[in-house]
Each structure stands twice: as C-alpha cells, then as structure tokens.
C-alpha cells in the first residue's frame, strides 16, 4: 500500500500460551509489514491475539515460532539486553490502564522515560507535557489527574524520547468517548508531526478514522481491512 520502507516486519509469527483451557494458541502465523511513519489501527475481539502481537512487537514476550524485525533487526537475535535497549530508544508505550507509576509525579513519569533512554532532561519533559496540554500540572501525582489527563501523561511519556515507533494498547479503552476522541487526535497528530510509526490496538471504532491503515485480528490471524465500514459488527 505504502511506498515507504517497512520499519516492522513479522514472518509467520506463532504464539502459544501454556495456560489451562483450550489449545492457548494466540497467534497463528502472522505476517506483517508496516512502513515507516504509518499509523495503524489494529482491531479484534477480546482474546483474538492483538495484545499478544503488541507484546511480541515490543519484545516483552517471545514468539513460539516465527521472526520479528524492527528496523531490519531480528528481535530474537537481540537478546534480553538488546530488546531492553530497543524499548528504551525505539519504542514508546501507551497503555489502556495508563500505567503511570503512582509514586511519581506527571513530570517525573515523563522524565523516567528520558532517564532510561539516557537523556534525563527536565526541560524536555516539561515541553512534552506542554505539548499534550498539561502545562501547569507537572507536579501532580497520577491519582490527582483525571483519566484523560493520565493518558496524556502516558502519551507524553511515550513521545518525549522521540521513538520511531509507538505501541498503544487500547489507549481510549478506559476513557469516555469525548475524551477518547481528544486523546486519539492528540496521539495521531503528534505521531504524524514527528513521523512516528504508531500501532494502536483498539475496540473503539472511531480509532479507524485516525489511522492510515486498518488491520483486524481474528483467532490469531491477521486480516487487512480496506475501510472502516468493514469493521462494523
């Protein structure tokens, strides 16, 4: 679809969990190629395997079979240390439950990300918060912020280190629809500005409107969608 070179590639990705219940096969041969700067929405029912894919892409988990390449590098060959460095420098994360560290202030949460990337810079952290519209709320603790604000902090945390890729897991899942829309606009807008590749796992149909490309996951298999309409139940 896109002429840009792919930044993420997977080859025949399989993942099986050793959990009780059925066969526990979360992914069944996923081949994927995402271009640099693309904004991708990934849909799918609960348990379809989309979060698993995200975790595998982030190197937080290892595939049972198959290969993942980020910027042409094989994740499996990187090792734990290499994957940690990858997360530090090349990946940003935005979670459904925000997952801010409750004991750190908004600014400290953002700074943490920079610190891990080896560039602790408080000015940069404040700017980043400013960019997500949280100027003046730097010293608040997560529990002193609303859900939307917390997710803005999470976005700032992901963006601040200017990673080439941001993975977002249900970024609006815990927000009302108005706030959700604002967050989506903010997240995709910032990514576009910075040329960042964004993969959003979502339930919310409106996510589709902000994406360049729509993927759907069903029973561990990945399908390309042409338009947002096809997603309707």
């Amino acid at each position: 679809m896109s002429m840009t070179p792919s930044i993420i590639r997977t080859y025949d990705l399989w993942k099986q969990y050793e959990t009780e219940g059925h066969d526990g096969m979360a992914l069944r041969g996923v081949d994927l190629s995402i271009g640099k700067g693309q904004i991708v929405a990934l849909f799918g029912k609960s348990g379809s395997g989309k979060t698993t894919l995200l975790n595998l892409l982030a190197g937080l988990d290892e595939p049972t079979r198959g290969r993942i390449e980020i910027e042409g590098e094989d994740l499996g060959a990187l090792g734990e240390r290499g994957r940690t460095l990858l997360r530090r420098h090349k990946l940003g994360f935005v979670f459904q439950f925000f997952n801010l560290l409750p004991t750190l202030t908004a600014e400290e949460n953002v700074l943490l990300s920079l610190e891990l990337a080896g560039r602790p810079d408080e000015r940069l952290a404040r700017e980043s918060l400013d960019l997500v519209g949280l100027a003046g709320k730097e010293i608040r603790f997560p529990h002193e912020l609303s859900g939307g604000e917390q997710q803005r902090v999470a976005i700032a945390r992901a963006l601040v280190k200017k990673p080439p890729i941001i993975l977002a897991d249900e970024p609006t899942g815990n927000l009302d629809s108005a706030t959700g829309a604002q967050i989506l606009a903010l997240l995709t807008g910032r990514c576009r500005d910075a040329g960042t590749t964004l993969i959003m796992v979502s339930h919310a149909l409106n996510t589709c409107e902000y994406a360049d490309r729509v993927l759907r996951m069903t029973d561990g298999r990945l399908f390309e969608e042409i338009s947002c309409e096809g997603l309707a139940p």
Binding site: E20, L60, R87, N99, L101, T103, L104, L111, E115, L116
Partner: protein
C-alpha cells in the same frame, strides 16, 4: 535509575501502614534474635565475671575428691615449697528467710588477701564513719558478714543491717563492690565453720602455685587438684547444655525473624509488581528493577534492624532476668546483669536486619525477576493459579524432610547436627503450607460458609486464590505455632516423666533439708534412728566430682532402706542391684551411662580420699536429678572411701499401715525444728522440684510470645496486602451490594481462616517437633530419656494463641476496610 528507585521508595510513604508493618516485622525479627543473643551472652559473661572475680589470683584449688577437707591439711599446704599463697575457702549456700538462696563464702581475711581482693578492703571504705569497726566486727562477731553491693541494693542492706536466714540472723558490717552479678555473702572462715556446723573442715583451699608438677606429685593421693584451665573446662561442660539451650533459642529466634522478614519482603514485592511491569515495558532492565527493589529492602532492613537492635536490647533486659533465674536454680546463685548499651547493638541490628532482609527477599526477588510485564499490565496477579506450583514446592519440602531424617540419623555425631535436623524439618514443613491450603480449602469453605455465609466462602476463596501471599503467612505462623506446641509438649512430657521419677524414687514421708540447703548434723540422724515407728531413714549425700575431666557427682544412700521403700526405674539391672550395692557395687544414672558409655557390668574408677578405687556397675537407673551423671553407692562404702560424714538430707520412711504415722511425722518435724533444719513432706518436696522445673523452662515458654508476634505480623501483613491488591475487587463487591459489615466480616474470616489452617498444620508439625526435641535433642544434650506423654494443654494454649493473634491481626485491616470501603469505586487508580 534514580527515578526508578524513587518510584519504589515513594511507595514506602504512600503505603504507610504497610511500610510500618514491614518495618516492625523486620524490627521484631531482629529484636527477637538480638534480645535472645544478648541475654544469653550477658548470662554467660556474668558467669565468667563471677568466676573470675572469685578466682582472683588463684592458679589451682585443692580439695578432697568428695566432701570437705580437714583443716589440718592447710598446715601441710603451708609448708609446701611450690605454694606461694594459699587461702582456705568454705563455699556454701545460705537460705534467706524469704526462701532465696545466696552463696556464702567463709574466708580468712589474713590469708585471703593474697589471692583476692574481697577481704582486703574490710574497713577501708571511706564514708559515714560506721565502717571503722568493720574489721574487728568481722573478726570477732560470729554473725558478722560482708555483702556485695548487688545484694545490698536488692535487699536494701547497708552496714548495720540484719539479714534473716533460716539459720538465724547475720549482721552486715560492710558492703563490698562486686563487678559480677553474683550475690555474695562473706563470713570469717572460723564463723563459717560454726554456721555450717563443719568444725575442723574447710571446703577447699585456693592456691597460687609456682611449680605445678612438683605440687601435684606431692598431693597425688586423696586430693583433687584442679587448675584454673581445668576448672574453666569443667564449668563450660557444666554449662554446656544450658548454653546450648540458649543458643538454640537464639537460632530459633533468628529463624522466625528471617521468616518475618521474608514475609514482609513478599508484601513489598506485591506492591511493586505492576510498577515493575511498567518499568520493564518502557525500557528499564530487570537489573534496574531488581536494584531498586534491593535498595528498598535494604533501606527497610537497615531501619528495621536499627529499631530491632534497640528493641532487642530492651528485650534482653527482660530475658536476662528469666535466664538468670534459670541459672540460679540450676547452677549458681547468679543474677546476671544486662549488658550495658552499646552502639554495636545498633550496628549489629542493622547488619542482621539487612542480611536477613536480603536472605528473606531472595524468593520474592526471584519472583520479581520472573515477572511477565504482559501479565501484570493486564491486571493479573501472578500468584493466582499457583496451586500447581504449590505441589512442586511441597516436593521440595519432602526433600527437606528427607534431609532432616538423614540429619537425625547422624545426630549422634554432635547435638548441633540434631539442631540442623530440627531446622530442616521445620523448613521442610513450612514448604507444605501452600499445598495444605489447597487441600484444606474445600473443607474450610464448607465450614466458613456455614458459619459466616457468603463472606466466609469468599474469604476462603481469597485465601485459596492468593497462595503466593497466604502460603507464606501460613508457613510463618505455622512454624511459630509448631514451636509453641513442640516446646509445650516437650515440657509437659518432661514434667510428666519427672513426676513419674519422683513417685518412684522420692517416696519418703518426710525429707529433712535438701542437697541445696543446710547439712544435717549426724546427731539428728542418730537421734531419729532410735525413734520408734520409723521404718527407715535414707541418708542422702551428694558431692560433685570430676570424672574423666568432666563434671559428675557421687550420691551415697542407704541401699537397704531404698530397696525396701523406693521403686527405682531401671534401664539396666533391677531391684537385685540393691543387694550388690550393699556389697560394694555402684549404680549409675542414665545420664552418666550415656555420657561416659558405661553400662551394667562396666567398671568405673573413681578418685577417693584413699586413692583410686574401682567399682562394678550393677545397674543403670532413670534419673532427672543431674544431667551430668550420678554414681550412686551405699553410704557404708562412701564413708569407708571418702571419710566424709556430711549428710545433705534425710528421707524418713514410715510403713504404710502404721497407725501412728501422723504422730511420728510430727515428732520428726519437731526434732528437725530443734536443729533449725528445713523439712518438707513428700508432696511439698515434689512441689518444690516442680517449681524449679517450671522456672527452668520459663525462658523456653517465653518463646511463645514470639509465636503471637509472628502470627500478628504474618496475618496482618497478608490481609493488608489483600486489601492493597484488590481495591478493584472491593469496588466490585460494593457494586454487588456488599455492605461494609459484610466486607469487614470477610476480612475477619480471612484472618481466622489463615489462623485455622496454620493451627491445624501446626498440630501435626508441632507434635512431630516435640518428638524430635524429646528423642533427638534432649537425649543428645541432656542424656536422659523423656517419655512422650500426650497432653492437650499445649494444643489448647496454642490454639487460643492462634485465635487471639488472628483476631488481633485483623483489627487494623478491618479498620482500614471500614474506613475506605464506603468510598471505593470500580475504577483503577
């Protein structure tokens, strides 16, 4: 990294109650250990100081192998060229009117000042001018004594005070300083002879000898010469079992302490799991996460350890009292003084706190390292569905138990091996905690749902589903309860065995004086023999001796009287032994037999006043009177070989059917009273022995307190963690219409459930532990057989302890629930 650490440490402030609980958990673990160690050290140190203080410049002592030494021997010692100085000593005890016994030394101030300083300063105390008569009073007033400052303080004595004793009043002429904690009364040696009715005798002479070999050669026959080194060895052997007991208690305290810390570290991990997941997801390495956690643990360890050091010091002051009274009953009349405060306590506490924290945090740390961010970030707690792992852990437990069995098999090597076995057993048993919860859960669910309805059922479900937390709490609590049951059962069994022994061996109708009391004048014995109606009089004499360089004792009795009236329990030989004793054979106690590997038919050689004499062992009898071993012989044999006519006590036997029994006993009492001698009926005598027994085990019993503390922190910690971990669930409960009362009840049920599982488990583990203590540890360290008796008391006491602790432990969590629950909602953060 700074932010990572910061994010962890801020938890300590945010979850204040949990942090305080953690801190206290560590502090108490450290306090228990430090307290016990300090107490045992100060007890032993006081003992050492006391011994050193009394030793002065003495290099050797000379005494008869048994019994007092004729004072005429002194003139011979005086002329020995190897003797630089010598000083006669009468070393006895005096019973105060209050019943307390105090060591009383008869010394000669002229000769004694060459070997020690006590009498050198009689009259040399500047001050109120009252002491100026001290020296002449001491020399001329037959009741004049010096008392040491500790005793003076305790009893409010000063120069001029009168001390009432069972043998009449003593007049204090001066108080002397005594760096040791041993209360001492000093009297002139001549007055001591009159006071103790031992005219012509002293107990020993303390010597400063220049040429040991020459001296020993000249005094080889009929004397026991002991160098200070030998004396120290004898003393340490004498105290060996006691020291071991204290060490064991210290180790148990440490074990429990580490468990507490492990427990608290586990809770720390719980509250960090999600953070760890987030950190890993955004690029923190596992090393950084582990490091941050370690910093937190160390911080808590150091702070808790410091607090524990201080608490432990305070605790030791209390424990020293108990330990001291045990020493006093068993060995010396020593009141150990607590060690002075030292900053080493603080440093030691910190070190112990952090070391134990690291050891205790290892398992949770490993868990943290295994955290899968994927799972925690999705809100799952890793500990659910751990029942399979519990099976694996239980397998480890089985291996541990097997190892314990091997150690028990090897326990003959050293008593420490037995201890190691006991630890391995407890550790192994604790690993079964999770497994037991899984197994017991269905039954408990049934029980609790009937008793407390839905809240009860959910509570048990929570226990079952949070095995990672609950199994640790249960394990810690169970160990503490097992120790309580085990020690309790051991003590009860011992007590029952003792009662059996007294009933078989101490069957006299009346006992005049005791080994620890005033000697009985032979006149009284002669007088009583002529009294009509008395069936028999046992003349009891017990003297400490050194056998193969270790302490033991000789007891002389009247074999024909005991043959007729007593019912000795025999390990070897039988009632036929009495006949052989009359002909000159001896019997030995079980402890002697085990300690020196001597049995029926063996021959033992004892140093007597007439040189070495060999005896045939006719039998081995059960005995709890001395862990060091007793050789028992007929008085006629004893008198012939030792020439010591001292009588420690008389046992009066009257035939069962004698109609004048009461009258005769009254008459004997009357005559004993005329001699100023204490007496006791069989019941009173037995009662007194049991009192001593009970006070001996006071320290051991005090360990129960530990169980309560462990329970409290273990359970309270578990409940608090539940609460922290499941805020969301509480929101759901609320949404479902659970009232605050329901949730509070549920918390109580969780607490009781944990208590119940722990108790049930400890009933089994504790019983086995009791058997280990009886069959392995006791046998190894005291060399005597205790018969296991099942008694319900330890179980009841422990059960009540568990209940009380469970209820107390849920108090704070319930309060938290009541306070916070009404405002909870279904939302994260």
């Amino acid at each position: 990294m700074r932010s990572v650490i910061r994010s962890f440490l801020r938890h300590l402030v945010r979850r204040r109650s949990l942090s305080i609980l953690q801190l206290l958990g560590i502090a108490l673990g450290v306090a228990a250990t430090v307290g016990m160690m300090l107490a045992s050290r100060s007890a032993l140190q006081s003992l050492g100081t006391a011994v050193d203080f009394l030793k002065g410049g003495t290099t050797h002592t000379i005494a008869r192998p048994a019994g007092p030494m004729e004072e005429t021997v002194l003139a011979g010692i005086m002329g020995d060229p190897a003797v630089r100085y010598f000083a006669p000593v009468i070393d006895r005890r005096v019973r105060l009117k209050g019943g307390e016994q105090v060591r009383m030394l008869g010394l000669d101030p002229f000769l004694d000042r060459n070997v020690r300083s006590i009498t050198a300063r009689i009259g040399v105390s500047a001050g109120d001018g009252k002491t100026d008569e001290a020296f002449s009073s001491f020399l001329f007033d037959s009741r004049a004594v010096l008392v040491d400052e500790n005793m003076a303080k305790d009893l409010g004595l000063s120069a001029g005070s009168i001390i009432a004793t069972l043998q009449g009043p003593l007049k204090v002429v001066q108080v002397f300083s005594n760096p040791s904690g041993e209360p001492l009364v000093i009297i002139d040696v001549g007055h001591a002879q009159e006071f103790f009715r031992m005219k012509g005798y002293v107990d020993r002479a303390d010597l400063v000898v220049t040429d040991e070999n020459a001296f020993r050669q000249r005094w080889a026959t009929g004397f026991a010469i002991e160098s200070n080194a030998q004396k120290a060895r004898t003393l340490s052997a004498l105290l060996g079992a006691f020291k071991l007991n204290l060490e064991a208690l210290s180790l148990f305290a440490l074990f429990v302490g580490i468990f507490l810390i492990y427990n608290t570290a586990m809770f720390a991990v719980v509250t960090r799991r999600r953070d760890a997941g987030v950190l890993l997801a955004i690029g923190a390495s596992r090393g950084q996460v582990t490091g941050a956690f370690l910093v937190e643990v160390l911080l808590l360890g150091v702070a808790g350890g410091a607090l524990g050091g201080v608490l432990g010091y305070l605790l030791s002051k209390f424990l020293v009292e108990i330990v001291g009274s045990t020493i006093s009953t068993l060995y010396f009349f020593l009141r150990p003084s607590a060690l002075p405060w030292s900053f080493w306590n603080l440093a030691g506490g910190m070190l112990l706190g952090s070391a134990a924290s690291i050891v205790g945090s290892l398992p949770p740390l490993l868990e943290l390292r295994r955290v899968r961010p994927v799972h925690v970030l999705r809100g799952r707690t890793a500990t659910r569905g751990m029942s399979k792992r519990m099976g694996t852990i239980a397998l480890f437990g089985t291996a541990c138990l097997a190892f314990a069995l091997v150690l028990f098999g090897l326990s003959f090597l050293h008593v420490y091996v037995g201890f190691a076995g006991a630890f391995a057993f407890l550790l192994g048993a604790s690993l079964f905690a999770g497994f037991v919860i899984v197994v017991a859960a269905p039954g408990m669910k049934h029980l609790f749902s009937r008793a407390m309805g839905l809240a009860g059922r959910i509570a048990i479900g929570n226990i079952r589903e949070n095995l990672g937390r609950t199994s640790v709490a249960v394990a810690a609590f169970m160990i503490a309860l097992s120790m309580s049951i085990g020690l309790g059962s051991m003590i009860d069994s011992f007590r029952r065995s003792l009662v059996w022994w007294m009933d078989s061996q101490l069957r006299g109708d009346l006992y005049i004086s005791t080994k620890a009391d005033v000697n009985v004048p032979e006149e009284l014995y002669e007088e009583l023999k002529t009294l009509p109606g008395i069936g028999g009089i046992d003349v009891f004499r017990n003297v400490p001796i050194t056998f193969h360089g270790r302490p033991a004792s000789i007891t002389s009795i009247d074999a024909s009287v005991l043959e007729r009236y007593d019912r000795f329990g025999w390990l070897e030989g039988g009632d036929g032994s009495w006949e052989r004793m009359k002909r000159g054979d001896v019997i030995v106690s079980e402890s002697f037999s085990r300690r020196f590997k001597v049995g029926q038919g063996s021959r033992v050689t004892i140093e007597t006043a007439r040189g070495p004499a060999e005896f045939l062992v006719a039998g081995v009898y059960y005995d709890y009177a001395s862990e060091h071993g007793v050789i028992m012989m007929d008085r006629s044999v004893y008198l012939r070989l030792f020439g010591d006519r001292t009588i420690n006590s008389l046992g009066i036997f009257i035939d069962e059917g004698n109609p004048d029994r009461v009258k005769i006993i009254e008459e004997v009492k009357h005559r004993a009273r005329a001699f100023g001698l204490p007496f006791a009926t069989r019941e009173e005598f037995h009662g007194r022995i049991l009192d001593i027994f009970d006070s001996t085990f006071a320290v051991t019993r005090s360990m129960r307190v530990l169980a309560v503390i462990v329970a409290f922190f273990g359970i309270a910690g578990a409940l608090m963690t539940f609460f922290v971990e499941r805020q969301k669930e509480f929101g759901v409960y609320r949404a479902l219409g659970f009232t605050t009362g329901d949730v509070a009840r549920m918390t109580v049920a969780e607490s009781l459930g944990l208590g119940l599982v722990s108790f049930l488990m400890s009933a089994v583990v504790g019983t086995v532990f009791a058997l280990i203590l009886i069959k392995v540890i006791n046998l190894q360290s005291f060399n005597w057989t205790i018969f296991y008796h099942f008694t319900t008391r330890p179980y009841l006491v422990t059960g009540l302890t568990a209940l009380a602790a469970s209820v107390a432990a849920c108090a704070y969590p319930v309060w938290s629930v009541v306070r916070k629950y009404p405002v909870m909602q279904i939302r994260e953060e």
